[in-house]
Symmetry: C2
Subunit: 346 residues, 2 copies
């Protein structure tokens, strides 16, 4: 049976005070003789003593809990845990926290208030947030002194207890777009989810623009596609793309997930990929190599994002600051089968 033993029980059996036991648990070697320490350690082991975190959190006014928040203020019938990107980040967080005796409290929320509530309720030691918009960060900053790390949110300057981890989105998208150029494409379209001011997609769009401008190619509105679920469904959206077929030889996507859905729909409309339209994705989800054609994409190490977020928090707990914050994780092109070289066709 899982028997629950308290400090008091250990103290009684060892014939010492509760706080001597506390001292050996906290390894304050100077405060207790080797002999007593050994005796106490044995009893602790014998009963497999585990400290009660509630009691600890209460006196410390802080728990060993890290809140992992999936945030989305727009309503969406899909639970955010169904998105593999989010849960791959979670995988990374889980891995480093459990090796450092911190625990993971997870929740998907749709308001900032819910985040504050969790922090207050559990006196969370730190918070990791996915999906918060740049313009909401100042509200956060004004309300929290718990360390927070934001994943994939771009903020002008990191002040106070706000830290970030991300990738170089703009450069990543230059890589994607250059790959199409290198394969002879000039009529290149851009596909993303609906526009969010200051979000990562904006940076990626800039990367797209950078490359076209560098090659003297005009940016044409008709080649920009933004998928807004509230306005139309996937099929209608792909009809829009199909209509512009003749203006496009290649498409860069801000997310593999979106690219996969669109490819699937375009194919059902009789458009062949990559013969008629080449496709470059972004993320390199684990499923991207199983779709047809196998998706050429820009790889980012999603799990590492989670690991870094956790490491930043750990560093802040220890040193009260972190120089890992603001890091941009590397990205890398992964060539597969969704891009056709059309250099010699013209």
């Amino acid at each position: 049976m899982v028997i629950i033993v308290t400090l008091k029980d250990i103290a009684k059996e060892a014939n010492v005070s509760v706080m001597t036991v506390s001292n050996v648990i906290h390894k304050r070697k100077a405060k207790v003789s080797e002999k007593t320490e050994k005796k106490i350690l044995e009893i602790i082991k014998k009963y497999n003593y585990t400290p009660n975190m509630s009691a600890r959190s209460l006196v410390n006014n802080s728990s060993k809990l890290i809140a992992f928040i999936l945030y989305q203020n727009r309503k969406d019938e899909r639970n955010l845990f169904e998105n593999p990107f989010n849960t791959e980040v979670l995988a990374g967080v889980d891995e480093v926290l459990k090796e450092n005796d911190y625990y993971l409290l997870v929740q998907s929320v749709s308001t900032l208030e819910e985040i504050y509530l969790i922090i207050k309720t559990w006196r969370a030691a730190g918070v990791i947030i996915l999906g918060i918009l740049p313009n909401e960060v100042s509200h956060l900053k004004g309300n929290i002194d718990t360390p927070v790390v934001l994943i994939d949110t771009i903020i002008p300057n990191e002040a106070g207890s706000i830290y970030t981890v991300g990738i170089d989105d703009r450069d990543g998208f230059r890589i994607a777009t250059e790959h199409l150029i290198a394969n002879g494409h000039r009529d290149i379209g851009f596909v993303s989810y609906s526009r969010i001011l200051g979000g990562v997609d904006e940076q990626r769009y800039l990367g797209y623009v950078d490359v076209l401008e560098a090659h003297g190619i005009e940016i044409i509105d008709d080649r920009i596609f933004r998928y807004n679920k509230d306005e139309m469904n996937m099929d209608e959206f792909c009809n829009e793309i199909a209509k512009k077929k003749n203006l496009i030889t290649g498409l860069v996507f801000t997310a593999d997930f979106l690219a996969i859905e669109v490819m699937n729909s375009l194919r059902s409309k009789g458009i062949t990929i990559p013969d008629e339209i080449s496709v470059v994705g972004f993320d390199n989800l684990s499923i991207s190599k199983f779709v047809t054609p196998k998706l050429t994409t820009v790889h980012q190490d999603i799990t590492t994002k989670g690991k870094e977020a956790a490491n930043i928090l750990l560093e802040v707990f220890k040193e009260n600051e972190s120089d890992r914050s603001g890091i941009k994780l590397p990205v890398q092109l992964v060539e597969r089968e969704s891009v056709k070289n059309i250099e010699f066709e013209k």
Copy 2:
């Protein structure tokens, strides 16, 4: 700023005792006059008072925390949160818990001891476990009195505080196998992960056998493939299948994830699907409709598994028992493109 206010602060401002405040929070209407209640409620609202869960857990000797455990005792470099099946269950748990003021503590573990540790450390109110083997359940049963619900673990009888949710695996696999029969197949192979005694795959195998026997088809060892990662890699495994190509017209898989990987590998070996081999999966992952050919599979509602697990726990907290336990969620065939009708070819 997120200001942290305690019962004592509220009591002082309201000129009442701490426990009168406590009484209004717990809605013990009989114990406090309407007038005082109203006054206190206003102050609570004004300061946005949030109870400190650590303090509550300490006095109650139980927290509002549900531990969601991903368990796997074999070593594997993949983190369990990278498996979409697991996180879709998590999505369901998240949804019901957050509407009932319970919180979700998640961790992937590789020993039962780690599970006990989490329960003791946090005085978890309940536990949800994925991936525990039938023969480990008795150990669990002997050691825990916290309510536990097991997902996809088959146990002989539900006793004590152990509850289960699952599907009818045997019948689900009959459906998969019958579909191949209905399309003219008789040389049907079975593909699963490595054998686990008493696991869901064993039930699925029995469903496979049921159907073949009902149709007078002999069960042939050469048509049974078990993928054991420790023994060989995916490529080698698919070579084994390719070798037996002539013994097989169709394959039933115990998991879409496995089916997708195998299809991919077989194709790279020049085997066309479904022309040479038809494939039926199991699970209906959200990615299964995007692979080529689109996977025909047996759908199960994974998110509902998580919801039901959470609901069982909630019911046990309230009524001290649950009649939802042991439920088998429905399954359903989803026809797509990975099965060829060969009835008229022979």
